[in-house]
């Protein structure tokens, strides 16, 4: 069995600090994230981030630290934070500014304290010591700089005589920014976008669904932390990236909330907004659902796309899956969760979530389609309706419209059930309009047909009369002697009962009451009437 080795403080060189921080925090934004993580873990309800060419300050109104807590906070690689409850838990973050600035001062005050405390870290001194040690190594001299000694000389916790933090909270001030740090951070849109992904920001006040979503998130005990960002002169509150403008018609559909659950295991909730046109969202940056834990984004919005049967569907929606499950631990790169049984169950829950979202979305989009059809049908039917009176003699156009109106009615049919539940009155109104159009066209076509037939008959009778008169050497036809003869002469043959009634009327009423001359005059008037009409 190998001999147990006893490690001493001389076995850990000062270079460890440089190696750790340089490896973990290559981008100044990552360093910024660390101090913001600390603010969020401190249960603050506001964070201010101020950046200028020489300093960065992250200020929160969280619980702050007592002297003992501040003392523990400066430990390297040891953290009191529970990884199940806090974002940061590796115990390195406080040193993340090593490659960013000359000095770090963290002013803090616990609500229970009457006095604030300040942690100061002189990174300039640490770097100088490390350079001296490197020089010693080059000269083959034995090492003298150990981590413990290095930190002892450069890291302090003391009473803050200025009481910089007035009530409670923490203010981290990094001063003497190095090299290109400010150049990297002097990019408003990039820094703001980064913060959107690491802080549970509020929604824009002008986003119409902001209050609905925030209310629900608060009910679910999800925190919302306002952030004020100032880069030199520009100072603004920053918000999550959602606005009415990302939707085709300003966002007509209320957000839908889903519970992310697999069996009895609850992972969190999701809120989803779907585009109000059957199109993908124009803003590619917010297409899809973003998974968040403690406000920190995990992976990208395309993470869930493979879960959808029709991936395009993921691009028509936006929203967030807010995870609260303690077993889901973000990996260091925030590209996924640590692989464990909770993650497996979470993936199953995501499948179910996507299915639920698809069903809901499909219903919404069917309704949208039905509304679109109804609107188009009503508009076109109204146009046809107003044009019809002027088209009554235009048989070709009437025939064409007859076909079109039938087509409109057919388009409405498949959506009838949906429309009756969505907008029964509108649907009935449109149906009525379509029906009236169809009837008008039909009547106009029928009347035109009857008139044509009567004209043809008149011509035929005229021809026949001419032919007969020629055959008879043009004798003068005797006028019809009675009503029956008159009707027969004009081919007006009523039903036998009506004829019998007319004959009875003629013989017993008309002839009985008129003199011969008056009767002949009446028959002449009737002939003229029929001549005009026929």
């Amino acid at each position: 069995m190998p001999e147990r080795i006893r490690f001493t403080k001389e076995d850990i060189g000062g270079e460890v600090l440089s190696i750790l921080t340089t490896g973990l925090y290559r981008d100044p934004l990552d360093t910024l994230r660390e101090y913001i993580q600390n603010a969020i873990d401190a249960d603050c309800d506001h964070i201010a981030v101020t950046i200028d060419p020489d300093t960065i300050a992250v200020t929160d109104n969280g619980v702050g630290m007592t002297f003992e807590q501040a003392r523990r906070a400066i430990r390297l690689g040891i953290s009191d934070k529970n990884p199940l409850k806090s974002v940061g838990f590796r115990g390195i973050g406080i040193y993340s500014a090593f490659n960013l600035c000359e000095d770090l001062s963290i002013y803090t005050r616990s609500a229970a304290d009457t006095q604030g405390h300040v942690i100061t870290i002189n990174f300039r001194l640490i770097r100088e010591e490390l350079l001296r040690e490197q020089e010693r190594r080059k000269q083959q001299l034995p090492p003298v700089l150990y981590l413990e000694k290095l930190l002892e000389n450069a890291v302090f916790v003391d009473v803050d005589p200025q009481n910089v933090v007035q009530e409670h909270g923490t203010k981290a001030v990094m001063s003497g920014l190095l090299g290109d740090v400010y150049k990297r951070l002097n990019n408003w849109s990039e820094v703001a976008a980064y913060l959107e992904n690491v802080v549970p920001l509020p929604f824009r006040p002008d986003f119409k669904w902001a209050k609905v979503i925030e209310k629900r998130l608060r009910e679910e005990a999800h925190r919302i932390v306002p952030v004020t960002l100032q880069i030199l002169v520009r100072r603004e509150e920053i918000y999550r990236p959602y606005s009415d403008g990302v939707f085709s018609y300003g966002g007509r559909h209320e957000p839908k909330f889903f519970t992310v659950v697999d069996g009895k295991e609850r992972f969190g909730i999701a809120w989803v907004c779907i585009n109000d046109a059957r199109q993908v969202l124009r803003n590619t940056a917010i297409r899809g659902l973003l998974i968040k834990k403690f406000g920190f984004s995990i992976a990208t919005r395309s993470y869930l796309e493979p879960f959808f049967k029709r991936p395009v569907f993921n691009r028509r929606i936006t929203g967030e899956v807010i995870v609260e499950h303690q077993g889901l631990i973000p990996n260091a790169a925030r590209s996924d969760f640590e692989h464990n049984s909770s993650r497996q169950a979470f993936l199953l829950a995501l499948g179910k979530l996507v299915n639920d979202v698809s069903v809901w979305g499909d219903k919404i989009q069917q309704e949208d389609k039905a509304r679109e059809v109804l609107e188009e049908a009503h508009t076109r039917a109204a146009q046809i309706n107003s044009a019809l009176p002027s088209l009554v003699r235009n048989q070709d156009e009437l025939l064409r419209l007859n076909v079109e109106v039938a087509g409109i009615a057919r388009q409405l049919d498949p959506h009838a059930k949906t429309l009756r539940s969505l907008d029964a009155a509108g649907y009935a109104r449109t149906r009525q309009l379509v029906k009236e159009c169809a009837e008008f066209i039909s009547t106009a076509l029928m009347q035109r047909s009857r008139g044509q037939k009567a004209l043809e008959q008149k011509i035929v009778r005229s021809i026949q009369r001419e032919a007969e008169e020629e055959k008879k050497g043009r004798p003068v036809a005797p006028p019809p002697a009675n009503l029956k003869a008159l009707l027969e002469a004009y081919d007006l043959i009523p039903s036998p009962d009506l004829m019998a009634f007319l004959v009875y009327l003629d013989e017993t009423v008309i002839q009985a009451r008129l003199s011969t001359e008056e009767y002949e005059e009446t028959m002449r008037v009737l002939r003229e009437f029929l001549d005009e009409r026929m």
Binding site: T55, S105, Q162, V173, S175
Partner: protein, 334 residues
Amino acid sequence: MAISFRESPAKRLVRETWDTPLLRHLHEQYGFRYRYMGFPGTELVDVRLWRDMLDEVIAFELPAPTGDQRAYITALRRNLQTLGIRNVTYFGSLEEVVILRKDLDGIDYRQENLITLYNLDFCDEIASRVDTRDGPKAWRFEALRTIVQDQHECFRRSDGPPFFIMLLTVRNQIHAGQAHSFLRPRNLVAEAHRYRGVCERTKRIPSRGILLGQHGWALKTFLYNTLRSYFGAPNVSALFFPLVKYMGTPVSRQIPSPMLHWIILCRFGNREHAAPAFYPDDYLFNVISLEAAAGGLRLSAEPGERPNHDQPLGCVEWLVANRPAIFDFGASRA
């Protein structure tokens, strides 16, 4: 920690017994709150003193003369962050940044909001030139014109109050030749011209040499005349408080730093005040200068000033006695 500026006891006396009572009076009686623009120094002495009345600080800081050039600006920024007051900072002298519209980091300078309290401290000779890459270009005092123009632009696009305060401090030093040039009769308004005539009879400007602390009347005349001309176009009326003379921190054992300090209460005109007015009447003659010394403030007349032993030594009392109707701040809270 780098300290850019160590103030003299007299400077502190002026701030605490002359400036502060007025600012606090306007704050407490009329609800004034201040957006401060100036050169507070890394120690932020005045900002700390007036902290409860300030909403924002727009600060300027010079490069450190030795060692790390950024030491002062870094200290200023760190201290402002620590103080927790909203701030914007520029690297360079106020005059240079305002005139050149850029600071030494190349950051564009633009006045975004109305300033309600200027603390303009011209530590260098005000009648010197601002250096640019193309060589000396603008007079240092021309920064005042730009400041007034910027302020007017902000006033036009805002609905802020018409009042603002200038605390103006200059080194009592000018080349004799420049004094002659600036105080040529054709450059002066009638009051300044008359005043210069009276002063020349008792304390004539020599033909050459540097006037250090001996001819305060010349700088007083020059600045009064210059400000009146700068206030004309933007229609700014002004109430000039008594000139206060004090000794600042000496440049070296041999070179003292005599300073001149004014408070100027300004307001933009409206329809009723179509042209600017300047108060008190015959300011150059009628208002006796003060001097800050170990015992406090005392009357210390410059040549040409008419004796008036009843002139109050307190700033607020002086305002009460001399406030014209145009400076109506509304109902007092008292």
